[in-house]
Amino acid sequence: MTPTLGSDAETEHGDDAEQSSRPRGDIDDAEREPQPHTIRLELADEPGQLLAALEPISENGGNLLSIFHERGNVTPRGRIPVEVDVEATPDRFESIVAALREGGVNVVQAGAEHYAEEVVVLLVGHLVDTDLSDTLRRIEENPATSVADFSLNAPEGRKDTSSARLRIATRSGETTAALALVREIAAEKELHVVEPLAGGAL
């Protein structure tokens, strides 16, 4: 990860190369420019399945970069994992994923590169007793946010107050919404949130 000392407290670009090649805050360009995305699919081991999965990509303006077809690595449900690298603008990428799902293709994971900013927050309270996995899942379920890194510190064991550090990756311009989501979950579970300061407040 980018060294964070001395940089913006709230938003840090998730991609070093991207950061150096593009001035920060240039969100409009970031929205229009094609970016590489990785899609993980699981296909039934039947003829024609792979082709059916690739069609929505070109039909929605995606540029296919590579296909990694793991025939020897069958999932417990007898499906074959496929990793597809696609270049597309963010909105086209969303159409591709939606079209794949509509066509009945099992999309396991779509485009971690999609997330442009990060925000680090601490949660304090009875984290384990308030269903920690539910807390994380609800952040993951939001299409604009993803938990990039998670660290739990529970010195007194699960029954007492513990702390967690969450590094949340968000879409460009979505850190405020991500913080609001964390606050909402925390309020419901009576957890305390230690947030960063907005903007360049250091």
């Binding site: 964070t4 407290a9 601490l122 510190n153 230690v194 960063p196 300061l197």
Partner: protein, 319 residues
């Protein structure tokens, strides 16, 4: 620079006593001085050293009734009685009496400008006297006068670490890996925290300072009181949270934010090397300005002589 003002000092705590002790050094004369039960009045100037010695030895400053100081013939009333919430009494009435007599008022007491800013400004408009209150925010640090110099309309936000007790506790917890309770006990032994630390550790003190800043930034367009502030203290910050922050190059500080839209005080994540991550009892105020970028002012946010220097600075700024 105004020379030779005659001061009446109300309140004989650390700040009031230091004002009495240092006034002569700034070219002023103390003609009246009162604590909660007694007063000394002398039109030729009180004997500062003897009065402070009497306060130490006997617990009173003189033989007069406290009201005598308020009624004395002074140019500037220095209001340094303890901050009270709600109606901000008796500080507010002291200020009212002085303004009605067309005298200036310099506040060290936060109550009147945090809880009744509109009333204070209304009384000031009707009076030939002026109200100043640099000492209410950030002790020795010239925050209010800096905002005035920049003009409030050119300051978009003020934020900072404005409570030395809370900051001492958080920085000790982070540095030594000690629990809140242990650090609090240490702070009380050192005199950094009071026996009842609620006002400091629950964020109330920092919030009052931010309310005052929000009132200054709003310049009368909107009035704020403590009830408008979103306040969370540091009592819920465990050592485990500070450890997680440190692993990531960050730390936690009790940060207050004031804008024209509101006030928020709470523990926040800041990079360890950030300007806001001051350590110990040190305070910092950070101003966001439209033409001058970000200004950081740090220094001692409390203490008798430090806060008295802000009071006497205000006396010097009076027209």
């Amino acid at each position: 620079m105004t020379a030779g003002e005659r001061l009446a000092v109300l309140g004989a705590g650390a700040v009031g006593s230091s004002v009495v002790e240092l006034a002569a050094e700034y070219g002023h004369e103390v003609v009246a001085f009162a604590d909660s039960s007694s007063a000394v009045v002398d039109a030729d100037g009180i004997d500062a050293a003897a009065t402070l010695e009497r306060k130490r030895a006997e617990g009173t400053v003189g033989d007069d009734d406290p009201d005598a100081a308020l009624a004395a013939d002074y140019d500037v009333l220095v209001e340094a009685t303890p901050t009270t919430l709600g109606d901000a009494e008796p500080g507010f009435s002291h200020l009212e009496t002085a303004l009605e007599r067309d005298r200036h008022v310099v506040l060290a007491n936060k109550g009147p400008v945090a809880e009744r800013y509109g009333d204070v400004r209304a009384l000031e408009r009707e009076s030939a006297g002026e109200v100043r209150f640099e000492a209410t925010v950030g002790g020795a640090i010239p925050i209010i006068s800096t905002v005035e110099d920049l003009s409030p309309s050119h300051v978009t936000a003020a934020r900072g670490v404005l409570n030395g007790t809370a900051n001492f506790i958080l920085s000790r917890m982070a540095a030594e890996g000690i629990d809140y309770e242990h650090v609090l006990a240490e702070a009380q032994d050192l005199g950094v925290a009071e026996a009842d630390p609620t006002f400091d550790v629950e964020g109330t003190d920092a919030a009052l300072k931010c309310v005052i800043l929000a009132n200054v930034l709003s310049a009368g367009e909107r009035e704020f009181t403590l009830s408008d502030a979103d306040v969370e203290g540091i009592t819920n910050v465990p050592g485990s949270a500070l450890e997680l922050a440190a692993e990531d190059g960050r730390t936690i500080r009790l940060v207050g934010e004031a804008t024209r839209d509101g006030i928020r005080v709470g523990p926040r994540l800041v990079p360890q090397n950030a300007a806001l991550a001051v350590t110990g009892t040190r305070n910092i105020a950070q101003l966001e300005t439209t033409n001058a970028g970000q200004l950081n002012l740090s220094g001692r946010g409390a203490g008798g002589p430090e806060t008295a220097s802000a009071v006497l600075g205000d006396v010097g700024r009076l027209d």
